[in-house]
């Protein structure tokens, strides 16, 4: 009897309880829903934690303590923020395009959540193990672009429109290096399936084989998330809050929660593809430990994202565009060429 670990045993227990009264097909479908709900709740809890963590770690990077008044070490700050935002009046300006305005907030959140379904959170712990998992994730995460454009356009405000246009330009131009950097990894494994990619990293993590690709993915990921040195769309000093100018209260909070959910998703992909996924010591003895290793690596990636954000100054929008098109795309193409040549030589020499 294979040792499946605590979390998967829990899943099996739920499955057998469900199959007592339901047909096998329905049981399978409901199991996917249950596992997705579990992932959703877990990620949302993490997002709430990240709200506080960003401010605390941001403070530490700047030699100050961050929020430390609410609760020990500021741990109840997120609750204070949530209460404040719920109590705020949601002002919708008169000439705003109401359906688009309201839909934009939701539309930013949905792709991040959809992408979470395929990420392998541990050994055998992806909600759905798609054969084209990576392809699905990349296509779903591109939908956030139109949500920002909707937010900017519907706000009926020149700053929001400008911010929305900048956001779209930035996100579209950095999609290409993002995808091309992952192509190197796909060439090495020959599969888009996350489980296969992780299995191919049992001996050596792909960050060792593809360091340039990791760097390109990291930079393109920052640009995709509209954070760090690439946050021109929400540049507070320049265009107030860009496409988010007219949003207040819970609607605004939705955008920020979506940004953190996206952060977790992108860090999850980076961990899966470059940092060996859920591999780690003693995973075969305690399979539930794979979840712990995965989350540790995700938080290491999040630390890197935050480190870069709280250090580097904002990149000007035309510098940003020229960096993406004129430097990152040729570099990622070069990476693909070198990887291809390397694979061919590897096979030709019969290693």
């Amino acid at each position: 009897m294979e040792n499946k670990g605590f979390i998967l045993n829990l899943g099996d227990a739920i499955r057998s309880w469900l199959s007592l009264s339901l047909t096998p097909g329905l049981t399978d479908a409901l199991m996917v829903v249950v596992s997705f709900l579990a992932i959703l709740v877990f990620v949302l809890l993490n997002v709430l934690l990240l709200v506080l963590l960003e401010r605390k770690w941001g403070g530490f990077f700047q030699q100050r303590p961050g929020p430390n008044r609410n609760g020990p070490g500021g741990s109840l700050q997120t609750i204070a923020d949530a209460v404040k935002l719920l109590a705020k009046e949601e002002i919708i300006p008169k000439n705003v395009d109401k359906p688009v305005f309201k839909a934009a907030g939701i539309l930013v959140f949905v792709p991040a959540l959809l992408g979470l379904a395929v990420i392998p959170w541990g050994k055998g712990m992806a909600a759905v193990n798609l054969n084209i998992g990576l392809f699905y994730f990349l296509s779903v995460s591109s939908v956030t672009t139109i949500a920002f454009l909707m937010a900017g356009w519907s706000s009926n405000n020149k700053y929001s429109l400008l911010g929305g246009m900048r956001a779209v330009a930035q996100m579209v131009s950095y999609e290409i290096p993002l995808v091309f950097s992952l192509l190197g990894v796909i060439m090495l494994t020959g599969s888009l399936n996350f489980a296969d990619i992780i299995e191919a990293q049992t001996g050596m993590w792909f960050i060792v084989a593809q360091p340039v690709a990791f760097l390109i993915y990291f930079i393109a990921g920052i640009a995709e998330l509209n954070r760090g040195p690439f946050d021109s769309p929400e540049g507070e000093q320049e265009i107030v809050a860009g496409p988010l100018t007219e949003y207040s209260g819970m609607r605004w909070a939705l955008f920020f929660l979506a940004e953190y959910a996206n952060l977790i998703a992108i860090s999850g992909i980076a961990t899966t593809l470059f940092l060996g996924g859920w591999h780690g010591p003693w995973v075969d003895v305690y399979p539930a430990l794979s979840f712990v290793w995965f989350m540790l690596k995700v938080y290491c990636m999040i630390f890197l994202f935050m480190w870069v954000r709280w250090t580097l100054p904002r990149v000007r929008i035309d510098h940003l565009m020229s960096f993406g098109w004129k430097f990152l795309i040729p570099l990622s193409l070069l990476n693909i060429i070198v990887t291809g040549v390397g694979i061919y030589l590897y096979q030709a020499m019969g290693w």
Partner: protein, 143 residues
């Protein structure tokens, strides 16, 4: 190396992350002020001879003092008011006082709720007695 500044900046913030915070938790922890801090004012009434040099040296005429002559025809301080809303905290009054009667204190939390509370009255009638016999000049010679 291209991009050297980025790496240097990142290493500095990493060091800051694991180091101590340099902020003071102000209301619960009071700051450690230097000895010559320009805060509020304190008049050492026995030392004041009522010469008026501080009032003359003030650029904004903040100090208003008056003297009376007592029964021995000696000059005594009668009142000493400072309208601190016009004060520059330049320290010329403190620097120019011949007896070091007016001094700075380290108190900096002096915001008030109304304008009339800003006026500082530093005259303390009970203490401001010049020596009953002889002028201060003679008192210092007697020392």
């Amino acid at each position: 190396m291209y991009g050297e500044g980025l790496v240097k900046g990142l290493s500095i913030t990493l060091k800051h992350f694991f180091g101590k915070t340099i902020t003071e938790q102000y209301p619960s922890v009071r700051p450690n002020l230097p000895k010559r801090f320009h805060g509020s004012f304190y008049l050492d009434n026995p030392k004041c001879i009522g010469c008026g040099i501080c009032a003359n040296s003030c650029p904004n005429r903040v100090i208003q003092l008056s003297t009376i002559k007592d029964e021995n025809n000696k000059k005594k301080l009668a009142s000493y008011k400072m309208d601190v809303q016009y004060c520059l905290w330049c320290g010329l009054c403190v620097e120019s006082c011949p007896t070091k009667a007016i001094q700075f204190t380290p108190e900096f939390e002096s915001a008030t709720y109304s304008r009339k509370d800003i006026l500082l009255d530093l005259f303390k009638p009970g203490e401001a007695t010049a020596p009953s016999e002889g002028a201060p000049k003679e008192a210092s010679q007697a020392q």
